[in-house]
């Protein structure tokens, strides 16, 4: 992809995503960290659009920026005496070392391997093809995913229900 618009978009979006992800680790306030995480989610959605993955980009915004961030925020609000300083634990340095090693390994593998690149242009319309695939080849994971979501919903409700609701029959 070598037209100027895509290249500029890629560099700007990757810089925004990586810097906000690094800032999530660095800021000292948990709510700021969640907001910066949402910024990095939106950056990843932008990168999906440069890869002409329109349906996945919009789904990413809808679910990650719209719902999972709200979940995290609710967890923070429902735990008022929890610490909000976004501090690191005692595994700071080993984690940093391990993360650095993983990054170096993955980057080396990514740059050094000779991938089999095809020269087709970007996708025109992905939603209908994804829909057909979901009901054609991947129907079993689709149904299992729906059962999984149902179980997760029920589990979350049962876990946080106050116990007195079960006692006054």
């Amino acid at each position: 992809m070598d037209d100027a618009g895509t290249v500029i978009a890629f560099w700007v979006l990757s810089a925004a995503t990586i810097s906000s992800a690094a800032a999530t680790a660095a800021v000292r306030n948990l709510i700021h960290a969640v907001v910066l995480l949402v910024v990095s989610f939106m950056g990843v959605a932008g990168l999906y659009i440069t890869l002409s993955a329109d349906f996945v980009a919009v789904t990413q915004i809808l679910i990650y920026a719209g719902a999972i961030s709200v979940l995290m925020v609710f967890a923070i609000v429902l735990t008022p005496r929890g610490e909000r300083g976004n501090a690191e634990g005692f595994l700071r340095l080993p984690a940093l070392l391990l993360a650095g090693l993983v990054a170096v390994t993955l980057i080396f593998v990514a740059v050094d391997t000779e991938w089999v690149i095809s020269d087709r242009p970007g996708f025109q319309e992905t939603a209908s093809v994804i829909g057909e695939a979901l009901l054609d080849r991947y129907v079993l994971p689709f149904e299992i995913a729906s059962v999984l979501l149902l179980v997760a919903m029920l589990g979350a409700i049962v876990l946080v229900r106050p116990d007195s609701a079960m006692e006054d029959e």
């Binding site: 992800a21 429902l78 690191e88 740059v111």
Partner: protein, 104 residues
């Protein structure tokens, strides 16, 4: 100057490393969850960039994978945060360093 598969894979690798650091080093439960979500995002980005660039008979299978990963991560985030709230009720803390006994 053109942008190819390697560029996206490098971005995905860096995001994955940052997510790994967050998941291992943060003391707060929500911080660990943020790291896990970042790792999921990095993996999704890698899937989508392979689906765009690599040779394949069904190129859009990468997108289908990403839809499933997003679904599963939403379910997992909901369950993890429900557990966090429940744990807070019992132990009055959400610091992962203090939850270190199998039964109390």
């Amino acid at each position: 100057m053109s942008v190819g598969l390697e560029h996206y894979l490098v971005v995905g690798a860096v995001l994955f490393a940052v997510g790994l650091y967050l998941a291992l080093a943060k003391r707060n439960f929500v911080g660990v969850l943020m790291g896990i979500e970042l790792m999921f995002n990095a993996v999704n980005l890698t899937f989508v960039s392979f689906s765009r660039f690599a040779e394949s008979p069904n190129p859009l299978d990468g997108h289908v994978f990403v839809i499933f990963v997003i679904t599963v991560s939403a379910a997992e985030a909901a369950t993890a945060l429900a557990l966090a709230v429940l744990l807070y009720r019992v132990k009055d803390t959400i610091s992962v360093d203090e939850i270190d006994m199998l039964r109390w």
